[in-house]
Subunit: 339 residues, 2 copies
C-alpha cells in the first residue's frame, strides 16, 4: 500500500521532506538556519546584491498533470525561477517552497517533486531553506520563492536598452508553446511524452549560466527571459527602456523539430515563435559594437545566440519585418492569465 | 459597472497594483529594484542576518470569505508572516506576494487586499517588492514570502530551551480558535462580524515589536509563535530543544471574551486555549533568573506576558497539570492540515 499525505499528516510530511532535503540537497556555509524554525536565516555576502523572485504553477493551468512526471514538474517549477535570477545576471542561492496539496496524494510523488527541485538547485550549490505545506481544494499548486545574488554593479535590468543597440536571443523561442499545442492537439497520444518539443515544454532549459556570463561582460544594456513569449517580453523591455524595436522575421531562429512539426497544428508557425510563452530563453540588448564578442560566447555555452533586430526610437513602436521589409502582423502577442 | 480582473488582464492588474504600492507603500533606500523586473534586488545591511519565511492562505481552508473583508484578509495574511519574523527577534523588510485569483474577481477587491498588506508593512518601513499573479481554479490563494533582518547574534531559535528555564506566553492563546468556532457554530449571524473573538480570528494581533525587544535582551533561550496552537508549538520547541515541559493549567491566561463565550460552543474551553491554532502569540523560554525582567516588558508593550510553566528533562515529556497537580489530558493537540 502506497502511503498518502493524509496517512502521515502535515508534520509527518515536513519531516520526510526535511530528511530528503538534508540527504540529497546541498547546504551553504552562510546558512545559519534552514528548514524547521519560524524562519530560515543566512548571512549575505558582502559586496553582493540580493535578488528575489517568485513564481507559481497551478495544476491544469501551467501544466497538464497527465503529461508530466512529478520529478519533471519539480524541475520545471524550479527552472522557471532560476531563469528569472539568470536574466538579471545572478546566481541562485536559496529556495522556499509553498505547496498546495491534495490529502490523497502519494507521499512518494511529493518527494519526487522535491527531487526535481534539488536536481535543478544542486548545480548552483543552492538549497531549499524553508516553505509551507497546505491542503488545496481541487488543483495542486507550487509556489517558489528563489533568492539569488549578483555582484554589486553587475545587475542587468529591463530598463537600459538604447536606440541603436542590437537585440539578441538565445536558443529557439516558441518550442515550448509548440510542445503544448502538440499535447492539446492529440492529448491521448502516449508517444508524445518523448517528443522533443513536448520535452522542452515540460522541462524547458534555463540559460542562467549564460545570463551570468553575459552580465559579467558588462555589455548587456537590458535582459529578460522569454517566459511571456518573445514579443511579450520584448514589449516589457521596450516599455521600461522607453524605446521601440525592429525584429527581422527571417533571422528569428527555429529548431529542426519546430520546422518539422509546427505545421501539424498551425498554419502560422512564426506566430508561435513570436508569441508563444513558457520557454525560458534570454532576450537581451547590447551596444552594436559588442555583438561579435557576445556571439562568441555561444561556443563557450554551446547555446545558439542570434542577432535578430535592433532597438529604435520609441515612436517607431515594435515592428516585425519580413524579408521584403513589410510589417508582419502577429495574431496574439504573449500570454495573459486573465484574458 | 465594477471592473473585473478579466476586464484588465494580468498586465493591467500588475500596473494597478504597482501604482497602489508606489502610492501608499514605503520604499527602503537599500532597495535597488522593486516590482517590474524579472527579480527584485536590494543591498543587505552589513552586520545583519537575513530572515526568510513564507505562508499561504487558501480560501475556505484558512479563512471564510463570507466573514472577512478583503482588506482584513490582506492584513491577516501579512500578519501571519510578520509574526514569524518577530518570533526570531527580527524586523520585516520586504514582501513578495503570490496571488491565485478568479478571473471574475473585482479589481477593487484585489486592491483592498493590497491595502491590507500595506497597512501591516508600513509601521515597519517594510515594502512589497515583487510577486506573481495567476488564475486559480475555484478557491483563491494568497502566498506571501517575507524577508526580514536581525542583528548578527540576536536570533532566537526554537532549539535553545534548557531544563529549568521558565516558559512564558504573551496575550491569550485560543481566542482565534474560539472566534472560528463561533463562526462555524452560527454561520448566518451577521452580528458576529463585530464579536471580539471573531475580530481576533480575522485579524489576529502579531507580537513582532515585543519579539524583537525580547530578542534584544539576550535572555530568551527559545521562541516560537503559537500559529499551530499553544501545545503544538510547545511541542516544536521541546522537540528541537530536546527537552520536556510542565504547564500549569490555572496559569494559562484566558481573556474576558473567551471566558464569557467559550461555553457557548464547547464544554472543554481549556482544550481550545491549549490546542487551538491561528493566533499569533509568542511562546518563549528564559533562564528562570530573568523572568521578572521580561515580565516588566509587558508594561512597555501593553501586552500581557504570563509565566505559565517550566522546561523539564526530556524524559518527562510535555505535561499540563491542573491545580491539584494532576495531568490534564487534551482532546486534540495543535492543527494538522492533512489529518
Amino acid at each position: 500500500m502506497l502511503e498518502k499525505v493524509s496517512d502521515i499528516g502535515e508534520f509527518g510530511l515536513i519531516r520526510r521532506i526535511n530528511d530528503l532535503v538534508n540527504r540529497d540537497g546541498l547546504r551553504s556555509e552562510r546558512l545559519s538556519l534552514g528548514i524547521g524554525d519560524d524562519t530560515a536565516s543566512f548571512l549575505p555576502r558582502p559586496g553582493y546584491e540580493l535578488l528575489v523572485t517568485c513564481d507559481s504553477m497551478v495544476e491544469g493551468r501551467h501544466y497538464l498533470p497527465q503529461h508530466i512526471s512529478f520529478m519533471d514538474l519539480g524541475r520545471r517549477a524550479m527552472t522557471i525561477n532560476i531563469s528569472d535570477i539568470g536574466a538579471m545576471g545572478g546566481t541562485p542561492l536559496y529556495a522556499l517552497i509553498s505547496l498546495g496539496l491534495r490529502a490523497e496524494m502519494f507521499v512518494r510523488d511529493v518527494e519526487e517533486i522535491y527531487r526535481g527541485f534539488i536536481a535543478e538547485l544542486n548545480p548552483f550549490g543552492a538549497s531549499i531553506i524553508g516553505g509551507n505545506l497546505t491542503r488545496s481544494g481541487n488543483g495542486m499548486f507550487i509556489d517558489i520563492t528563489l533568492l539569488g545574488e549578483v555582484e554589486q554593479g553587475k545587475l542587468v535590468r529591463r530598463s537600459g536598452a538604447k536606440p541603436g543597440d542590437a537585440i539578441l536571443v538565445t536558443g529557439y523561442p516558441g518550442q515550448a508553446a509548440a510542445g503544448l499545442r502538440l499535447l492539446l492537439h492529440t492529448p491521448n497520444d502516449a508517444s508524445l511524452a518523448r517528443h522533443p518539443l513536448v520535452t522542452i515544454y515540460n522541462i524547458p532549459p534555463h540559460r542562467a549560466h549564460l545570463g551570468k556570463a553575459i552580465a559579467q561582460t558588462g555589455f548587456a544594456t537590458a535582459m529578460i527571459d522569454t517566459s511571456d513569449g518573445f514579443l511579450g517580453d520584448l514589449g516589457h523591455i521596450c516599455e521600461q527602456s522607453k524605446v521601440g524595436a525592429k525584429i527581422w522575421l527571417d533571422k528569428l531562429p527555429t529548431s529542426e523539430a519546430f520546422q518539422k512539426h509546427s505545421h501539424e497544428f498551425t498554419d502560422r508557425p512564426m506566430d508561435l515563435a513570436l508569441g508563444g510563452g513558457e520557454d525560458y530563453e534570454l532576450l537581451f540588448t547590447v551596444d552594436r559594437g559588442n555583438v561579435d564578442l557576445l556571439n562568441r560566447m555561444k561556443n563557450r555555452f554551446k547555446t545558439k545566440v542570434t542577432h535578430i533586430g535592433e532597438v529604435v526610437e520609441p515612436n517607431e513602436g515594435i515592428a516585425v519585418l519580413d524579408n521584403c521589409g513589410k510589417r508582419y502582423v502577429v495574431g496574439k502577442k504573449g500570454f495573459d492569465h486573465f484574458l
